[in-house]
Every structure is written in structure tokens, then in C-alpha cells.
Amino acid sequence: MAAEELMSKHKTALNHERAFDEERKIASRVKQRRGRNRLAHGLFFLATLVGVLVLAVLLFDIFQRGWSYVTADFMNNFASRFPSRAGIKGALWGSIWLIAITAPLTFIIGVGAAIYLEEYAKKGWISTLIQVNISNLAGVPSIVFGMLGLTIFVQILALKKSVLAGGLTLTLLILPVVIVAAREAIASVPNSLRHASLAMGATRWQTIQKVVLPYALPGIMTGTILALSRAIGETAPLIMVGAATFLAFTPGSVFDEFSALPIQIYNWVAQPKEEFSNLAAAGIIVLLVILLTMNGLAIFLRNKFQR
């Protein structure tokens, strides 16, 4: 009897010890897993920081090189062989002309296409065709759009190397982006508003014009401005279309030759002299200031009218 008791006691003790052992193992494994988690957390955070850090270094490097070159003379002079006399007036005005052509065209065509797809199109092969096209065009390299512009606008439509040819090329380039953004904005208009308007006897177009568009406008504007800021920084398509790098005048009409900020910057980057490299940095500062202003405006619109 006593022996049996002793045996069972011994067993329990053994079990306890085993359980304790197991517990310790689990504890150490949990610790290991937690440690791995912490390590991974740190690595993921570092990976995220790389992007932020590169942006900071890039901006610092460019401002440090170019800031002292951004002067009134720099803004008011045309391109020159002498670094001390070179400026970006021609390029800046070229870019302004480009935007003046691109902005209204992309807005009207982009919003038009978006309204069609969201408000009028029935599900069918036409709307599928248009949608597939838009998503494919968004992935076509910008330089290919440049070739399209070179053949269709510069040669077949005989616009020559004009600012109009450049503006039209950029319009086609950013159109998919604008259409997608405008569609999202229009789709976000609550259906109850449309129904209310139609129930009051408004026609379909009146509803779109007076109810849908005003509601969607901030979203549309944000998308359009962001797309335009992409157009301003585009270089490759303009090179293909034949933007000039050395102009001593600003365009007087849409049929004149033109330069543009990124083209001028590229020209300076390609020069061997150190001063030109700093001029390029100065040009980049002007370009970035315009871009950041546009982005800021877009964010402001988004926040102010966000519902």
C-alpha cells in the first residue's frame, strides 16, 4: 500500500517536472518569437525610412548646390553659353504655355470621358473597351507617347516642333490619370442626390451639371492638378517631339518653337562644366517649387472640401 502511494507520489513529481520543463521550453520559444518580431519590426521600419531618407538627402543636396544661383537674373535671362549669363526665362515660359494648353484640354476631355463612363455608359463592349484602354495607356512609357506625338502631331498634322504639338502630346499622356481620378470623384457622389434632383423634374444633364459635378469638383480638381504636376516634370516625350534646348525668345503663339523647364535642366546636366551643373540644380529648385505648390494646392482642396 505504502509502496503504491510512494509510486504515485513519484509519478506526480515526475509529471510536475515534465510540465515545468515543457513550460520553460514554451517560455523560451515565445521569447524567441517575440524577439524575432521585434527584430523584424526594426527592419521593416528601416526599409520604410530609406525612402524618406533619400528624399531628404536629395532635397538637401539640390538646395545646397543650386540655392545661391536662383536669382532675379536667373529668372529673367535666356539660355546662354556662359553660365554667368544663363537663365531659365525661355524654359519657364515654355512650361507655362504647355500647361496653359494641357490644363483645359485634359480637364474637358477627361471629365467628359469620366461622365460618360459613370453616368451614361451601359455595361457593354464599348465601355469595357474604353476601360481596358485607359488602364493599358496608364502603363505605356512616356517616351512612347513622345513617338506618337512626333509622328501624328509634328509630322502628319504638320504642327512642326511647336508648343501646341508638345501640349497635345502631354494631354494624351496624362489623360488616363485624369479620367481615373474624375471617375472616382463622380462615383463617390451619393445616389440619393441624383434621385432627388431627377424626382424634382430635372433632366439627366441638368442633374449632372447642377448636382453631380459641383459635388465631385474638388476631387476632380485634385486629380487634375496632380496629373498636371506630372506633366510639368515630363522630359522624354518633349525631347521626342523636339523641344528646343537653346531659345532666346518665349513662344508668342501656339505654333512657335518652345523649350521647357525639364528640357533646359537636362541640357545643363549634360554640360561638362561644373557651373552648369549648379545651374541645373537651380532650375530643379524652380521646378520643385512649382510642383510642391501644385501638390499643396491639391492637398488643400482635398482637405477643405472633403465630405
Binding site: 521593416f44 543636396d61 460618360y116 522630359t235 522624354a236 525639364p262
Partner: protein, 309 residues
Amino acid sequence: MSQLAEKKNFFRKEKTWREKMEALIPGFLLLCGLLSVLTTVGIVFTLIKETASFFAEVPFVDFITGTKWTALFSEDQREFGILPLLIGSLQITLGAAVVAVPLGIGSAIYLSEYAPERIRRVIKPVLEVLAGIPTIVFGYFGVTFVTPLLRDFFPDMDFFNALSASIVVGIMILPMIASLSEDAMRSVPRNIREAAYGLGSTRLEVSLKVVLPAALSGIVASFVLALSRAVGETMAVTIIAGSTPSMSFSYLESIQTMTAFMVQASTGDISYHSLPYYSIYAVGATLFVITLTMNLLALYISRRYKEEY
């Protein structure tokens, strides 16, 4: 007879001028939409037309198997083998992938699974700004900062080289991978995560064993899309990697990509409708086919392998 017609129209109101005008509007809007189709047609037409003129003079087999590209040399020394340009583009794309894929997926996991809301709200816009920096600026940054830095480690590296360009292009496509992958991961339903946490998983285990597999199709699609952008990247590569078509696949030497050749050829003064001019289109058509294939592949992956919940 006329009475009958009048009766039929009794309930039909005469259309007002406004209604007649409105009937035209959908047509105009459809035209706007069809412009995108027209653009695609225009691109294909352009490329086919000019490329056909190219292949009338250069045999297609020579073009895709030739190992020498000297399109801008004088007439008797010209050779049009696209392989060196293809290898150049491939080199940059691979190099960019090595940089951007691990960093991009790390950022995506951090932003989607780890980051507290207030950090997310700071980092997301910063990545958006990075994505919005024009490629010409990255090109400048590459030659003035990255290349000199790298030359401290590899003293005998060429000033124009593929390594520096790969790193810069990698940084350029990083925000795209990060944000598209993050979208894919965030769209994984909450309850799957909760279930894994309920079983005692750590955050890392939930991320790698639950969220990542569930979002895999979107993540892989983001890689393909970003790499397709790397193939089509133009200005940064032109400025940083140089203009020496090369078969060597060396990252320390100057190379030339397809896009860089197109820029070099169009900034030089070649006349319209000459053989070098047509060669731009032949290279452009090759580029278009490659990027289109990659984009369609990305679309296929994200549709075909999408997990439905």
C-alpha cells in the same frame, strides 16, 4: 389618315430645344471616351508604320539576334542588333528590382501591419512626394551624388555606370511597390488577422504567414507593374548609365538602354525618314511590346490569383 397620326402623337410632347440639345451630349461625351481608344490605335499605327520602313532595310533576324548596335555611326559602319540595348534595359530592371523589391515589401508590411496611425499619416505623404519627383531630378541626383559616393567603394568604376542607375531607378519605383502592396495587404479582411492573433501569433507571424499569402497576387502584380516602369524609365537612365551599348552585363561599366538610345538619337541631328530615324521606332516598338506584355501579365496575376473572401 392625318387624323390618325395626330391621335397617335396626342400624348407625345413636342421636344423642347433644350431636350434636343441634351440628346447630343452623350455623343460628345462618348467621343471624349473614345479618344483613349484612338490614342492606342495611334500608338500602334505609328509604331507599325515607321517600324515597317525600318524592317524594309534591316532584316528582322539581324535585328533581334545582332550583338552590335551602332545606329548613329556613319552609313557604312551601321549595325542594328538590339541585344546590347535589351541587355542594358534588363540590367537596370534587375538591379532596380534587387533594390526596390525588399525595401518596398518591407515598407508595405510596416505601413500596413506595424505603423501606428500617426506615423502612417506622416510617412504616406512623404512617399507620395518621392513618387512625384520628376525623373530628370533623379537623374541629376544620380550623377552628382550617388555615382561619386559609389566611386569611393569601387574606384575603377566608370563615371557613367549601370550600378548607380539601377540604384536610382530602384528608389524611383520603391514608392509604387510600397503603396500598391500596402493597398493589397490592407484589403485582407480584419477577421483573418484577428483569428491568427487569437491563436497567439506574433505580429511578424501574422504578417508573413497570414497577410502576405492572402495578398500575394496584389503584391506580385505590384512588382511586375513597377518593373515595367523601370524598363520604360528614360531620363534617369540616360543621364546616369551613359550611352555605350554593351553586351558585357557589367554593372561597373557604361551601358545603354533602349530608352537611352531613343533620347540620344532624337537629341542628335538626324534627319526625318533616314534609317537611324526609323531605328528609334523599331526600338520604341520593342519597348512598347515588352511593357505592354508586363502590364497585361500584372493584370492577369491580380485577377487570376486573387483570393476571394
